[in-house]
Structure formats: structure tokens, C-alpha cells
Symmetry: none
Subunit: 206 residues, 4 copies
């Protein structure tokens, strides 16, 4: 029926553009290649569009058609990374904090995450969008999860009533961050999260 077609057009709000549609496969290949190269330890400036195109098996045009510069591509590529938060049992604040911090520990052991972290921390000054987006997508959710657990603990009496929530977040996350950056070389010990939480709790608890 004609009506249907008309409705569809109305519903989408815009006619499909003429010509061959852009290939989703190519788009995915480009993003993957970008992340692969970044994971190999390349910085953003070492990353060349030519290398991405070559690794993705794609023409340079296909990249430039979608992103007008390298930063936009990197921002989009990093945005596709999923960083799911662990499920929280909700039974005790201590257990939940350990879950959250242990998730951080495991993420720090993954090469791709390490590189993303490095890039976000070091190249942030030059690529402000990148930092903004990274904070919004990766940092803030974790910070908020920690904050929620801490606030829950304060309410339930498991944590001190006068605790500065932000300071609690800083101490817990900071200790993990410090260990992953400046601690002894090699993988972080499996019980690190537990030890950090206990050390912090000893003070945070009333």
C-alpha cells in the first residue's frame, strides 16, 4: 500500500540518502584496527591513518569519509570499548567495595585497557574531547558506583557517619591506581583489592 511507504518515510523523518549506503563492515574494521594499533602501545601521534587503513583492509577515503581527523576517530574508537561494572551482591559494604576494586585490578591486567588508560591520562591535554568522553564513559560510572556503595555504608552504619565520600573514593581508587602504576612489576596480587579495602576500612569504619 502506498500509505505504508508514506508512513515509513514520515516515521524515519528523512528519506534514505541516494547512492550506495556506507558499509558497516568497513566501519567496524576501521575501529578494530585503530584499537589494535593503540593496544600495541602506539601513542596517538604514532598512529597513522595509513596504517589503520592498511590493517583494516580499507581505503583511506573510507576513513576520511567518516571522520575528519584522527582525534575524532580515536575518540569514537575508544568509546566503543565496553567496561561493564561487576554485579554487586549488596549484602555487605566490604564485599561490594572488594568487588569494585577487584574489577579495577582485573582491568589493569588487560593490555588494551592499559593502553586506553595511558592514552587517556597522557594525551588528554592535547585532545580535550578525548578526556571528556573518557571521564564520562569510564571514570564517572566507576566513581559513582563507589560513591553509591560508600553512601549506602554510611546510611547503614557500616561506615563512619562523618566520612567525606569523595575522600573515600580517592583513597580506595587511588591505592589501586598507585599499585598498578608504581607498585612492584608484574601482575597485581590476587588479594590486593581485599587488602586495600581492609586497610581503608580500618579507618573508615567507626
Amino acid at each position: 500500500m502506498y500509505g505504508e511507504t508514506a508512513m515509513t518515510i514520515q516515521e524515519t523523518g528523512a528519506a534514505r540518502p541516494a547512492g550506495r549506503p556506507r558499509s558497516e563492515k568497513a566501519e567496524k574494521a576501521i575501529i578494530d584496527a585503530t584499537l589494535d594499533l593503540l593496544s600495541e602501545g602506539m601513542g596517538i601521534s604514532d598512529l597513522s591513518i595509513e596504517a589503520i587503513a592498511s590493517k583494516a583492509g580499507v581505503g583511506k577515503t573510507t576513513i576520511y569519509r567518516r571522520w575528519s581527523n584522527k582525534e575524532d576517530l580515536v575518540v569514537d574508537a575508544l568509546s566503543t570499548l565496553k567496561a561493564p561494572l561487576p554485579p554487586l551482591a549488596g549484602t555487605s559494604v566490604r564485599d561490594d567495595l572488594i568487588s569494585l576494586l577487584d574489577a579495577m585490578r582485573q582491568e589493569a591486567g588487560n593490555q588494551r585497557n592499559r593502553c586506553v588508560m595511558n592514552i587517556a591520562m597522557s594525551e588528554a591535554d592535547r585532545y580535550p574531547q578525548l578526556l571528556e568522553r573518557f571521564v564520562k564513559r569510564a571514570v564517572e560510572p566507576r566513581r559513582q558506583a563507589l560513591r553509591d556503595v560508600i553512601e549506602r555504608g554510611i546510611a547503614s552504619g557500616e561506615l563512619r557517619a562523618d566520612l567525606d565520600v569523595g575522600m573515600g573514593v580517592a583513597i580506595l581508587s587511588g591505592a589501586m591506581l598507585w599499585h598498578s602504576k608504581w607498585g612492584p612489576a608484574g601482575d597485581l596480587p590476587a588479594d590486593l583489592a581485599e587488602r586495600v579495602v581492609d586497610a581503608a576500612l580500618a579507618g573508615i569504619a567507626p
Copy 2:
């Protein structure tokens, strides 16, 4: 005096080479230019010998004659940076910890230090020498100073007897590091060190 000459030869281990001596002025200009460029937010890969030479008003040869590659130059340049530890009163552990952490806070407010920190943290994977040297010169002295104060506190009873010293370092340094990286934008608040120490002490203290 004959002694002087002999000693000089002995000390240098070789006779002064023939030809025009290398210009110390050029060397200094190169190091300065390198640090300036790094301070402007450049990563190591963005840093080009050409730019350094141009900024230093020096030929490229003059650089390559002294350092065989960029990493060596950067390592040397960063090594010239002084990072003196603050004097410690030694009266109370709390005051000493605040002194140390507040020194970190002030350093984090300096653009040049921030860049050095960024580079050390993010480009370490690609330039292992750099990390090694940075840890040895900048991280380890601070870590040791903190460790000393904490151990003194344990001995004096100001800190818990069963405190894991490394964990104490991680919590204190980590909280500062976290604030400087992921805390609210802008300069760190002047009382941050005090608040961090008090929050940590509340638990570290018996």
C-alpha cells in the same frame, strides 16, 4: 703544577681530543629546548629533533653527535630536573605526612612536572629506560621518605603496630594522585594534603 695535569689526565682517562671542543652552551640550549617542548604538552613521539634544533638555535648534527636517539636525549633532559624533597620537622608524623603530600600537591600544580609525570606514566611502556630512570630518581625517593615517616610512626606508636607500610604509602600517595588526575578540574585545594592525611590516619591510627 705538574700534579694538576697528571690528575686531570688520570681523571679524564684520555688526553683532550684534537679539534674544536664541543660547545657547552649548545648542550644546555638543547636540553632546555627539549624540556620546553615537553612542557608544552608534546608527547615523546611528537617531539622532533628538528623542532628541538630549531628552538635551540642549533644544527641537527649537533644533537645527534651527542645523543644517538631521541630517547637518550629525553632521558638526559628529564634527569636534569631537580625534585627536592621538603624538609621534615620530625616533630609529629601527621605533620611530616602533610608536608610530604603537600609537596606532591604543589608539584602537581607545576606545568612542567605534570608533563613529566604524564610522559613517565604513559610512554613508559615504549621507553623502558625512561621509566627506570624516572622511578629511580623521582618516585623512589618520595616513596622512601613516606616509608621512613610511616615506620617512624609505627615505632613511636603514632601509627598502628600491624600497619602494612607499603599499603600506607599506596593509600596516601594514591589519594593525592587520584585527586590530581581525576578530581574536579582546576588547582588542587590548599588543604587537600591535610584532609587526605587525616582521612587516612583515622584508620591508620590505632
Copy 3:
């Protein structure tokens, strides 16, 4: 009527293919655009299918559906050019030669012809089909016309009996060609054909 259909099939030698017939308008537009671009001084290699399609208001597919490569298109396009020979009075050999050569002179003044000539002469090595077709359609008829007049002149006694016809053609055409290529800049003088013929006749005549 069945007869008509049968005849049509017989005449065309094949059944009309199914589907939408090719647009004659598009075909004409493509040929025109091609000739226009060539007339603007483009060489064959400068000539791009994209430019032709754009100028003709046609998709590239529509061109490639008809000609498998640029050379085929150019050959067809140039083949559509008409190059009528002037009518010959037939009264005197001298007058007929002047007519033929003056037609050459006028053609040399036309931009489109100049370009076709240039292309035929310069790109012939690379596009052998093109040369072959051009010689057959443009050069040979003129050569033959000249030859006919000369042979008529020999038969009538207006030209030397022992004249090498090919050499006569070469001298007459060559002199015109030379003037149009290497003579003084600007249009060829109106009396050029007459002067060439007279100069040649002075020797060709017995």
C-alpha cells in the same frame, strides 16, 4: 500482426532484450560531453570518465555499461565527427587542388578539429585503434581525393606525366600541415592554399 514482429526479429537478428531499453539521450549526452572536453584541449589521459559523466549529467555506470574503457569511448566519439570534403568544380586541376587545400586550411582553424588532429597525431602510439580509425575516416578520404585530382591532372596533361602521385600528395598536404604547425602564429592566411598549389605546380607541371 504476427508478420511485423517476425520481420522485426529477423531484421534485428536477435530478440529485443528484456528490461528497460538504454536511453539514447544519455548516449548522445555522453558523446557530446566527451567531444566537448576533448575540444577544451584535454588529452586522452586528462579526460576522466568522472568528468564526462558529470558534464553529461549521467552516472558513471551508464558509461561503463556501453564502453568498457576510455579508448573505446573516445574512438566512438571521434567517429561521430563528420568531415565532409568540399565539392570539386572539376574544371581545372589547379582550382580543385586549391579547393581541397583550402578546406584543410579552414579545418585547421576550427578548435575541435585541431584537438582531434592533435590527439590523433600524438596519442596514436598508445591507442592504435584510434589511429587506425582516424586514418580510415579522416586521412584516407582526403588523401584519396587529392590522389584522384592529381591522377586526373596527369591524364589530362595538366600535370607531369612522370609525377609520383604519392609524392605529389605529400608535398601539397605536407606544406599545409607544416604551415599549420610551425608557421607564424595566428590564423593561416586566406591565400595560403593558392600559394602552396602554385609553388608546387611550378614544379609538378611539365
Copy 4:
């Protein structure tokens, strides 16, 4: 002696520029590669700087440093070609004309010359400098040589007193040009020059 140096500088009129001098070897390799590629039948538009650089074993920069565009390079490259005129016996006008025309015939047999000729004739419209230079260096000397011989012939009575010198040049050169372009395929016959001269003389002579 200091004086010598000073004089040298004075003599050259300019101090030698600082820095590494441009490599004559590279310059020669570029010219050679250009001529080679043109000789392979390439037109100017098919000729790519990248191909020249690759064939010459040279960076593209080295080409662009010397010539700002392709035309300039081609003009210079073609200018290096020598096209010596044959020595003229000077005994008889007929022999000298045959010498000159036979030199043309031999040049037409050389692949490199054919290409240069094609380029000069066909791409002249687009590259005016090229035509100008080619006429000055290649066409004009030959035209002048022919003119000299013809004028000598007129003076000595070997040629008609009322002969239009320009027309004589056009007839003689044009006949050769015609044969090389539109005559039967393959090499020009060895006695062509003689036959052309005799055919022309039969009329040019009184």
C-alpha cells in the same frame, strides 16, 4: 692565498650558499628518468612525478626542490636533448638539401625523437612554454639551415630567382613530415630525402 678566495667570490659574484650543495648526480638521474619515461610513449599527463622519482632512485622532494611543476621539468628535460645539424658539403644545393632532409628522416626513426616530436606537436596548446622552447631549440635551427641553403641556391642560380623561401621550406619539410606521420607504416625508405628534393626541385628550379 686569501686573495684568491676573495677573487673567486668576487668573480662568481655571489657567495656559495650555505649547506649541502645540490647533487648533480640526482639532477641527471631525474632528467634521464624523465626522458626514459617519455620515450616509452608516455604523454605528459601520464608522466607521474612519483614514477620519475622511483625510476631515478630519488625522493620526490628532490624533484620538487628543483622544479615547481611537471611542465618545468619536462621543458628542462627536453632541452637537454641535443639535435645536431648535419655538416653540409656546400658543393651543390641539391646535395645540401638532401643532407638536411635525410637528417630529418633519421631523426624520425629514433624512438626518443618521435616521442619528443609527438609531445611538442600535441601538448603544445596546454604547455605554451614547451612549444616556445622546442621551436627555438629544435625547429628554428633546422628551418634556418634550410633557409640558408635555399637562399644560397637562389643567389647561385641553382634555384628560381622568384622563389618564396618560406614556401620552399614548407614544401620540403612538410613532405618529410607528412611521410613520417601519414605515410606507409614502418621505417621511411632510405632514398626518401632524395626523392623529395628532386620532386621539389623540379619545380623550384628555373
